[in-house]
Structures are given as C-alpha cells and as structure tokens.
C-alpha cells in the first residue's frame, strides 16, 4: 500500500464521514471524544471543537450512564452493537431518540484502541410511528366499529370492534365487499351512501340495520366520511358504526312499561269494579241480619247499638255504590236511563227527604210552581242533588240555611245549591270536580273520599250539561248544574 493511495483513501473517508447524515463519533475507552463529524454537530448541538476532548457523558442523560458502561464493556470484547435505540441529550438539554451502531476501533495490529459510534436521529421517525400506533390503538380500543372501504365498496380496514360487532375477523373482512354486512333488503342504501361520499358529503348518524356473519341483525347508527389522498381526491370511505341496540332496547322497554302500566291501570279499574260488587253480598247479609235484630230488639235499650251499626253499614253501602260508579265512568259504562219528568217536583221531594234527616240546617226550596220538564235520568239527577246537599250540610258546621233554587234559561234548567259554610280556597276550585281530589285547609278536617263531586260532574256531563261552583273561603259556596230543558 503506497502512501499516496493511503492519503487518498483517508481523504475520501473523511469526505464520506463529513457528508454523512448520521453522527459519526469516535472516542477512547475512558470516554474522551476524539472525532465529531458535521452531522454530530447538527444532531447534538456541539461543534467539533466544543466536543473533541470532552467526555462522551456530555451527550448521555445521567440515568443512562450504567447503560453506556455496559455498551463499552461489550465493545471492548470485540462486539458490534447495531441499531440500538436509546436516548441522548442535546447541548440545549433536549432529549432525542437515536439509533446507535457502535463498533470497536482496531489499530494495524488488531488491538482495540477505541470506539466508533454512528448515531441516527430517529426522533421524527419515532414520533410518526408513535402517532400511528396511538391512532391504531384508539381505533382498536373503540367500541364503535371503524371500517374503511374503497369507492367500489371493498373493505380495506376493519377494527377490533368491527370484528366483535359483525363477527368477521379482520382477515375475513378485508378484501370483501361491504355488502357482507348489509341485509338484502337494504342493499340500495349502500349505493346512496357511496354516491354521497363520491360527492364529498358526510353521512351523519344514519340509523339502520346491519347483519353479522351469523345472521344477527344489529341496529346501528352509521357515520360515513370520505377518505381523501394527499391531493384531495376521494379514494374511499370511512365508516363508524355504533351499536344502538341499547337505545332501541330502551325504547322497547319504555313501550313495554307503558303497556304494563296501562294494563295495571285497567286491572286496577277492574279490581275496583269486582271488589265493589263482591262487597255487596256480605254488606247485604250484615244489613239484613241487623235489621232483623232491630225488629227483635225493638223494646230493648240496647237496640241503640244496632241503629249505630246499621247507619255505618248504610255508609259502607253508599261508598261501595260510589266506587262502582267511578269504575263505570272509567269503563265508559255509566249509562243513563232517561225519561221526561218534572224536575221541580223531584227537587221538592229530595229537599223534603233530606230535611227529615237534617236537624241543624234548614233547607229552603225556592223552586216556584212553574213546571220544569227535563229529559234526564231522574235517579242520577237525584244522586247529584243528594251529593250537593250532603256536601252543603257537611261543610256548614255552623249551620245556617241551605237554599235550593232552579230556573229555566235559554233552553236549560239551572239548579243551584247555596250554603253559608267554610267555602273553597281559590286554588282548589279548579280541581274540586277531579277524582279523589280533597280540598286542603279548613276542609281537611272533614272525612270523605273525594269522589262525590267527580261522579256528579260525570253524570251532568253525560246529560250534556255543565256543573260549576262559585265560592270564597269562609263565605260559603254555590254549586250550579245545568241540564237541557224541555218546553
């Protein structure tokens, strides 16, 4: 080997080293840097003059010193370490990811005298990889099926959720046509979707049905977006399919509950009807036996107890009838048996009868002698009047007169029942004819089921009439009802 040749080789090598994109560094075993190329300057931020003579530790993060010692030990043994990824420190303190290739430097006699290091900055590469793997992880951990396909419908990617949802593995699905998951009846949807994608449109939350490998139908919400290449050309579509079975299930449940509730309500009404009816037999027997006892004990002082019991049995009996009326109203079976009769006469008879059982109140019937003909169910009208008069008496604890009046006006007869009782607070007036409604305040001290006025209102309504009240708390009430009159 002549000297000229050697110096030419050395010059060529130097040129290569200087022009390399990789940092090429040599150092002694004690770590002293002996050479430092241009790329090393660029990657680590130290100039050659700054670096040469320094210890290599200037570019090694402190926590990696043990690693460095291990590497040196290996190289001393003649080993070459290739593409070893680790972290180094720049002059400004930034950490960078590098791939190292470390080789022993031997002298002419083959003795290892130092170490050469080639370092490639792979920070950018790693970042891209990291991003890619992060995206892949996101896609794979998604509960939504994420699928991409070409504009011809050929599946190009298939995530974990897609495998689970549609039961095809990634390798089974990729390369197949998307129609493998479309039910036969919905194939036409795909053409519409693809047409939209071709035009660059996104399809948002399209609720549809897809089918799995095993034929299971899946309710999904589909979002389909165009995939564009670097030049903005649309090359395919990404599909995100969300299983909305839960939503569909919730809707189904809601409907089921509504049906159940409806059924329960019907059962309840039916129960009231049956129970009330069944209660009548024992009440009949109790009442008849008590009445027999009453006759037999006519001359016995203890008959008083029988009277009291009978009075309660009668109340119970009325209550059962009211319950039956309520259930008839609920079933739309409160039928009227109408006939033409003299309402004025009926009112006078009712007032007379009520007065006989009322000691504290005087019931004044102001109905004049004019005949008031009505075509109505007289039994039901009597029921309404008894209810209104009973209420008038009950809610006038300080007695006072109760006035019953009836006038004919504009084809209607308007009947009124006026008392001087506790009245109704303004806030309760609108609800007073509702089922089971009980007035609060002063009225709370009076027992009652809250169904009397409801039944009365329904009876009047069925007659094509109206029922209403004018009242003020503490000043008494006037209840009115109207029914069509007959000339």
């Amino acid at each position: 080997m002549n000297e000229t040749k050697t110096s030419e080789d050395a010059a060529r090598l130097l040129a290569i080293v200087q022009s390399s994109q990789d940092a090429i560094i040599s150092k002694k075993f004690d770590g002293t840097i002996t050479s430092w190329n241009a790329a090393a300057e660029k990657i680590f931020g130290y100039t050659a003059s700054e670096a040469i003579g320094q210890n290599i530790a200037i570019i090694i993060p402190e926590e990696l010193y043990p690693e460095e010692r291990e590497i040196i030990a290996k190289v001393k043994g003649g080993e070459v370490i290739a593409h070893y990824e680790t972290i180094r420190k720049r002059k400004n303190g930034d950490k960078i990811i590098i791939a190292l290739t470390i080789s022993p430097i031997k002298d002419a006699g083959g003795k290892i005298t130092g170490i050469s290091k080639i370092a490639r900055d792979i920070s950018d590469e790693t970042e891209a990889k990291r991003k890619e793997s992060m995206l892949a992880a996101i896609i794979d951990s998604s509960d939504d099926a994420i699928i991409s396909k070409t504009l011809n419908g050929i599946i190009t990617s298939w995530n974990v959720a897609a495998q689970k949802m549609f039961e095809y593995t990634e390798s089974e699905a990729i390369g197949k046509h998307i129609s493998i998951i479309i039910p036969p009846g919905r194939i036409a949807e795909e053409a519409v979707i693809i047409e939209n994608i071709r035009q660059g449109n996104k399809i948002d939350h399209f609720e549809t049905v897809r089918v799995s490998k095993n034929g299971k139908e899946i309710n999904i919400s589909l979002t389909v977006s165009p995939i564009k290449d670097k030049n903005g050309k649309i090359i395919g579509a990404s599909k995100v399919a969300r299983d909305i079975a839960e939503k569909a299930e919730a809707e189904k449940q809601r409907q089921l509950f509504t049906q159940k509730l409806q059924a329960l309500n019907d059962y309840k009404d039916e129960f009231i009807a049956i129970a009330s009816h069944e209660l009548k037999t024992p009440v009949t027997v109790v009442k008849a036996n008590l009445q027999m006892l009453e006759y037999k004990m006519a001359n016995d002082a203890n008959v008083e107890f029988v009277y009291k019991t009978l009075a309660q049995v009668n109340k119970l009996s009325e209550l059962i009838n009211s319950m039956l009326d309520v259930s008839k109203i609920q079933f739309g079976k409160l039928h009227l048996y109408t006939a033409v009769f003299e309402l004025d006469t009926l009112l006078k008879v009712i007032v007379e009868n009520m007065q006989q059982t009322t000691l504290g109140h005087e019931i004044i019937c102001k109905v004049c002698d004019e005949t008031l003909l009505a075509n109505a169910d007289s039994k039901r009208i009597e029921q309404v009047m008894v209810n209104l008069l009973t209420n008038a008496i009950k809610y006038s604890p300080n007695h006072g007169d109760i006035i019953v009046d009836a006038i004919k006006t504009d084809g209607n007869i308007i009947v009124s029942v006026k008392d001087n009782g506790i009245g109704i607070p303004a806030g309760d007036i609108d609800n007073i004819f509702s089922r089971f409604y009980r007035v609060s305040g002063a009225a709370a001290g009076f027992s009652g089921s809250g169904i009397g006025l409801y039944i009365s209102a329904e009876i009047i309504k069925q007659h094509g009439g109206k029922i209403w009240v004018e009242s003020e708390a503490g000043k008494g009430s006037v209840f009115y009802f109207s029914i069509p009159a007959i000339d």
């Binding site: 009442k287 009445q291 006759y295 048996y337």
Partner: protein, 115 residues
C-alpha cells in the same frame, strides 16, 4: 201459608232471607244453583220466586224467561247487586226488582205487593 222460592248462589243470603220470610209466616224453600229451577218451581209450586241475577252457569234473566213459559207461572222478583233496576232487568219481564243491599221493609213490601 204462602210459599216463596228463593234462588241465590250465596248461602248467607239464602239464610237471612229465609229467616226474614219465615219470621213473617211464609213457607220458604231455598235453592242455591241456577240448574233446573223450572223443575223446582213445578214441584214446589211457589206463590212467588225471588231470583238472583248473577248465578253461575245461567243468569237470572234466562231463568226468568224460562219460568215465564210455564203456564200459571208465579210472579218473579229479581234480586241483584246492580244499583239500576232497568239496567239489571234487561229485556226480562220480571214483576219486580230488589237491589242489594236491601232494606228488610222494602223486601217485605215488595213480596207483599206481588203475592
């Protein structure tokens, strides 16, 4: 002695009605089903039949119409938990109607009127 046939599927009703009517001097026969009421009427030959509407198998209305076919049939009073007589009687031409629960005096008056 006037004879009254009482038909009701509830034994306690039969007992108390029998008690009431025998105390007033009636001869009473009670019958707890809706089957063969015509036969019972033919054999017992009552002066009045007190007939419940809600009987199992056959309604009081049907029985009432059957009894009406018998020549010289006795008057029939229908007995029902229905509050409304017209509704309860339907197209039946019974002589009268007594709603449950009844007043003993109303029951006796009604029977007295038709016997």
């Amino acid at each position: 002695m006037k004879k009254v046939l009482v038909v009701d599927d509830d034994k306690s009703i039969l007992e108390v009605v029998e008690l009431i009517l025998t105390s007033k001097g009636y001869d009473v026969k009670t019958y707890a089903t809706g089957h063969n009421v015509s036969n019972v009427v033919n054999n017992y030959d009552p002066d009045l039949v007190l007939l419940d509407i809600n009987l199992p198998h056959k309604t009081g209305i049907e029985i009432c119409n059957e009894l009406k076919a018998i020549s010289n049939h006795p008057p029939i009073l229908l007995f029902s938990a229905h509050a409304n007589a017209k509704q309860a009687m339907g197209n039946c031409t019974a002589e009268g109607f007594i709603s449950k629960p009844f007043n003993v005096s109303d029951l006796l008056n009604s029977i007295g009127e038709h016997i």
